[in-house]
Amino acid sequence: MKKILFVEDEESLQKSLGAALEQQKYQVFRALDGETGLSLAKKELPDLILLDLILPKKNGFEVLSELKSDTATKDIPIIVLTNLEGSADVERALTSGATTYLVKANYTLQDVIAKIAGVLSHSK
C-alpha cells in the first residue's frame, strides 16, 4: 500500500481529499501544519507528499527546502497543492524541487487523484 503524506491546514480539504485517497487504497498521513508535516515525512518516509504553501508554524517553502536538503527525504516526489498562483511562487516551488504545482481551485478531486497516480507511476 502506497503511503501519502497530506500537509494541509484546511480541515475540509483534509476531509474530502483524505477520504478520497483512502477510497483509492492509499495509506494517508495527515498534517495540519508545516512542522508536523516535516516530522511525519522523516518518520514515515511516504511515497509521495501533498504540500500546501500557506501553513502554520512552518510554511510550505520551508518544508520543501528542508525535505530536499535531507538525503532521507530528498527523492520523495512532492506535489504542491495551493491556491497561490503568482509566477514567483510557482517558480520558487519548482526550482526548490517540487515535482508538480497544482492550483486547487482549477482541479477536481478526481483530477488531483489522477495526477497523484501519474506521479507515483513515474517515480517507481
Binding site: E10, S12, L13, K15, S16, L17, A19, A20, Q23, I54, N83, L84, E85, G86, S87, A88, V90, E91, V103, K104, A105, N106, T108, L109, Q110
Partner: protein, 323 residues
Amino acid sequence: MEARWSEGLNLNKVCGKYRVSLWQCPQFLFLVMGVVIIVAVLSAYVVASRYQEPELAALSVLILTVVLFVVGHMIISAFERVAISSLSKSEFISIMSHQLRSPLSAIKWQLNMILAGDDAKFVVSDESRSYLETVYDQNERMIRSVSDLLEVNRIEDGDLVLRPSLFSIAVLASRVASESEKYSSANNAKVTVAMQKDIPMVYADEERIKRVMEHLIDNAIRYSAYKGNVVISLEKKNGDYIICKITDQGAGIQDSEKARVFDKFFRSINALRYQTEGSGVGLFIAKSIIKLSGGEIGFSSLLGKGSTFWFTLPVKKIIINIK
C-alpha cells in the same frame, strides 16, 4: 481619436480615475507648471524691460526657479502616490483572490466527493443531484471569475509567465469542444470540430491555450442567442503556424465596436441586448496569452451573420496523426 483627445483634456475625469485630489494629480500639476512657466517668462520680460537693474531680473529668475522646483517636486510625489496606489491595488487583488479561492475550492472538492457516486455513503436522489449540480456549476463560475481577475492582474503587472510544453492542439480542441457541450446544449448551440489531418504539435502553455479556446467558445455560444452552430477549425498555415478559428452564426459585432473588442472590460452593446453573462475580460486575456506565445489573434465579423475569431500558434515540426 478626437474623443480621446477631449477626454484627455477633461482633467476632472482624468484625475477622478486616479482617485486623488486635483493637487495630487500629475496631469493637473503639469498644466499648473505650464501656466507658471508662461507667466514667468512674460513677467521676466516685463520686469527686464521696465527696470534696468540686473539684480531685479536675477531675483525674479531665482524666485521662478524656486516655484518651478516646488511644482516639480509636487509632480514627482503625485506620480509616486499614483504608482503606490496601483501597487497596493494589485496586492489587494492577489490576496483577495487567494482568500476567495480557498473556500471555493473547498466547496468544489466536497461536492466532487458527494457527486462522484463511487461511495455508498452518499446516496443522492436525482432531484438533489440536479440542485447540487447547479451549486457546483455556479461555484465553478465563481472560480473562473476569480481566476480571470487574477490573470488580468498578472497581465497588467507584466507577471504573466507561460509554462510551455509540446502538446497536441488537435486533441485539446476536441476536449474543449466536448467539455463545452453542457453549456452549449443549455443554450441550444452545437459545438463541432473540423480539422485537417496531420495537425502538428504546438509548443505553448497548454492550460492557457485551453482558457483562450474556452473564452472564444463561450463568447461564440453566448452571442449566438439560441440559434447556432459553433465550429472550431484547425488548419496549417505556411508550415510554421497553426491557425485555430472559432466561427459562430451569432449577433456579429458592430463596426463602431470593432476597435475595442480586445480592450479590458469591453462588453458589446449586444451583451446587454442578449443579457449575456461575462465580465468582459476574456478577449483581453486571450490576446495577451496569444501574443506572449508568439502567435497572433484577430477576428472578422458581419453584423447579424456571425463572427470568426482566430488565433495562430507557432509549430514545432513533429507530425502526429489524429484519427
